[in-house]
Subunit: 331 residues, 2 copies
């Protein structure tokens, strides 16, 4: 007879129903990094309607980026998420779906460009910062909180943060008004055991504060979905995904895989399949995302995907061996 | 300060060097299911040379299939692996790479078609069987063992085997002369916690026999690599992979990801990248493999990928919604 082994850190098995889980879809925000956020309104509307129908909790519709740094002649509206643009898509958003926008530390004029929440259809601000930007991030968090938003924190590139700095950052965030802190594998470099370890670290640091832990994974090593499940199983409750995995470079955790796993009655798969079939497949040839060898290589080396993205846009997008040799040379 | 959490079942971390690990590449055997094993000799030779250069332990070069069931007019030589065909590729195989062939229960004339080992360049026979074929498999194992081969067991579609039957099968295999038993996720349906649980079950059933546990994963839910790592971490030491993940339907665990993870000095990544670039990319448009929505759907439903493969060959290969509706109707 078979004896099953219990995992002491698991918050339930894959059959457990976890009503605390909240999915944030960042198809437009992260996918927009492929095309400088030049999406047609029709596509953004289709994604909005899909997410409403699928029961997703949050839609991250873009960035609140500085127009001084990013010239509006070069970027589409989802780089800035101005109020009238967002309302053109969601109206007054009379749905359960919350609208979120990301503000990157040192890349945003947050004091001026983020309106008071009662003048905005945006519900939540996600502050994104690298570890050295934590002081700036804390001011951004306070600003958005005082303006009346839900605020969450995206601590970037955790795979290159040292333990001591991470501990201090989490301590500061535990005392801030954020409702959640996301574990962010910017380079798609983390293995599941590292995700498990880090998720437990985040949970412990935030214990007793009521704050939640989230996960934002990249698919460089085909681990975005697996790592999202790993974080979920040990207690993360805020999960990032994108439709068909659309996102910069290797892309993100595919929403359709995640909904298939959750078996949660609030989420529905069919609208997501419809959106992929009708709206994302036609982008083939115009926009590229998803796991490929160059992204695998930067992920394995725990490096930013920048050189891989450049290589895919070069005249030798399939010269994997030269790219590998070049990376090895640089190590 | 951060406290790290120890996983009581882990056989080491991702930094541990595990000299017991053996990789079996089944690119030709599993990839051949896409094109009825109609590979040119040049391609099979290139794969052989790649695996030698990459330090891989076994090459599964094809099936020992019955010509009465599979007409030679319809299939390429790797469906049968006749001695002269195999020697055309590997000569006397003066390398460390062992050659393996798969024999499917009830689809092979094993008594006649498998030569005594001293007359063959094939080193190992992998017997594949569904749970109800275990009695046949045990006779095949004995036959190949008596002929002088290393014999390993591929127990198919474990995601639909009941605990009681699995326990009995493992008990019988523990007493057989196989050197390893593979956990086989034929439908690409298993989640990592199930793989962990099953791997520990297999290890326990084989404890004290000196037999090893292997893993053969499929990529329907983009979990082939993640699940292979999960099995590895808790103690599996025989790992299946294919170059660029080539294999039926959603494909298998990509060899290049696995070698990147192992950090084992015996394995080398560069020859695998060369092979992909020079030999597999040119197959694009002729052969299709890798994760796609229809395979995800059959995986999520724990079903054989057959309907998804048929759908991809139909006139509506991207009609995900109709395919989903059809599967739901059948559930």
């Amino acid at each position: 007879m078979i004896e099953h082994v219990k995992d002491e850190h698991a918050k339930g098995s894959w059959l457990t129903y976890r009503p605390d889980i909240k999915i944030l879809d960042c198809t437009v925000r992260d996918g927009g990094l492929i095309n400088d956020h030049q999406f047609d309104d029709d596509l953004v509307k289709a994604i909005y309607q899909t997410l409403v129908a699928a029961g997703v909790d949050y839609m991250e519709i873009g960035y609140k980026a500085s127009k001084k740094i990013y010239a509006p002649s070069e970027y589409g509206p989802w780089k800035y998420c101005e109020e009238d643009h967002v309302r053109r898509i969601v109206g007054d958003n009379p749905t359960h779906l919350k609208i979120s926008a990301m503000a990157d530390a040192e890349r945003t004029d947050y004091k001026e460009d983020i309106l008071p929440a009662d003048q905005s259809v945006i519900d939540a601000i996600r502050v994104a910062a690298y570890i050295h930007q934590i002081p700036v991030a804390l001011d951004m968090i306070e600003d958005a909180y005082q303006k009346g938003y839900e605020v969450v924190m995206q601590l970037m590139a955790v795979s290159v943060i040292q333990d001591k700095e991470l501990g201090e950052a989490l301590e500061a965030l535990a005392q801030s008004p954020v409702t959640a802190v996301y574990l962010v594998d910017s380079f798609g470099a983390l293995y599941s055991e590292q995700v498990r370890d880090l998720t437990l670290t985040y949970l412990k640091a935030l214990q007793g504060t009521g704050k939640e832990v989230g996960i934002h994974a990249h698919n460089n090593q085909q681990l975005a979905y697996a790592n999202t499940l790993e974080a979920l199983i040990v207690g993360a409750s805020r999960l990032d995904a994108t439709i068909n995995g659309m996102g910069r470079g290797a892309g993100n955790c595919p929403l359709e895989l995640l909904i298939g796993f959750l078996h949660n009655p609030k989420f529905r798969l069919r609208p997501v399949l419809e959106c992929i079939q009708e709206h994302l497949l036609p982008l083939d040839g115009q926009m590229e995302w998803g796991p490929r060898i160059p992204y695998m290589l930067t992920g394995q080396l725990n490096r930013h995907p920048r050189p891989a993205i450049a290589m895919r846009k070069s005249e030798q997008p399939d010269d994997y061996v030269s790219f590998y040799d070049q990376l090895m040379e640089e190590e």
